[in-house]
Symmetry: C2
Subunit: 198 residues, 2 copies
Amino acid sequence: MTELLLPPDAQDLLFREARTANAFTQEPVTREQVAAIYDLVKYGPTAMNGQPMRILLVGRDSRERLLKHMADGNRDKTAEAPMVAVLAVDTDFHEQLPRTFPHAPHLRDGLAAAGVEKREATARFNAGLQAGYFLIGVRAAGLAAGPMTGFDAAGVDEEFFSGSSWRSFLVVNLGRPAENAWFDRLPRLEVDEVVAEV
Amino acid sequence: MTELLLPPDAQDLLFREARTANAFTQEPVTREQVAAIYDLVKYGPTAMNGQPMRILLVGRDSRERLLKHMADGNRDKTAEAPMVAVLAVDTDFHEQLPRTFPHAPHLRDGLAAAGVEKREATARFNAGLQAGYFLIGVRAAGLAAGPMTGFDAAGVDEEFFSGSSWRSFLVVNLGRPAENAWFDRLPRLEVDEVVAEV
């Protein structure tokens, strides 16, 4: 097998030994830690450098507001996690393009004219990439992530993003894994099932 | 700033000094290298462990078939890249669930009944996460990636995926960056613009 340039310890930290945690210790996760993660993963590429992903941190005092919108199987672990990040898209991300993509300032007006549905589709795809970067970044910080799509996104949006341009798409529990935080590692598809060649 | 557990050199390799390349040397990129990247990033999490992303490698001999579907601004660099990966979703990813998510084998039938549009939406979101992992994996291999959404996806699907369940969503040039491969680093949003708290 071809060797990667990334050292094996880092491969283990980010991928090979990293796992989706389903239980956490009570050690706090701070906004400062999430800021450090963002400060790393913000460099990941997005189309037009549009950077549509946003992060709402839901601390202990506001957790009940989130729990009622979680699917039954996700509610208890979301209650226990020391920190929860609601990942969202900003459907008005185009307003930043004159600053973040300065050589093509007309794109802002084009996306304004295209309408919110078209912008949201673009934003959701690119925020999906950024969510991938973010989950890797959580692991880079030595924390475990528990990403969940099982929640009522419309309910979360009404709860937290009413009147704003943010729309939730993923809820991620953050913390140090507790003992027995893992299910067994599930099988991955083989290279030959995934990689084709022409 | 809180320090991350991932060593600074690895942070640089994957994020801080990594850049989207727009020109490449002629050093080949092999299927074996892509297999090594996949073997790392396959561990990234997806909903139901569904792993819907697929990779079509388009070598030099088939490149013309791809180029005619690329947007004008992306055609020349896609012609020059030593290897190109077309990232796709498999809308029949649910067929693997009895093996990849064995404790809930009924999900396959549920997703079969839900229809291809519903499956494709799920697949596209999760393949977006996987594309994020893949781009990080390319950098872990010491290569540069040039991801592009500017192409005619329907044309690419007809060209390469006719009669199959794969649907293209991102084209990624792969190689060693040439001199002058970079545009200037574009501005990133500040933490306070992206991270909110309740």
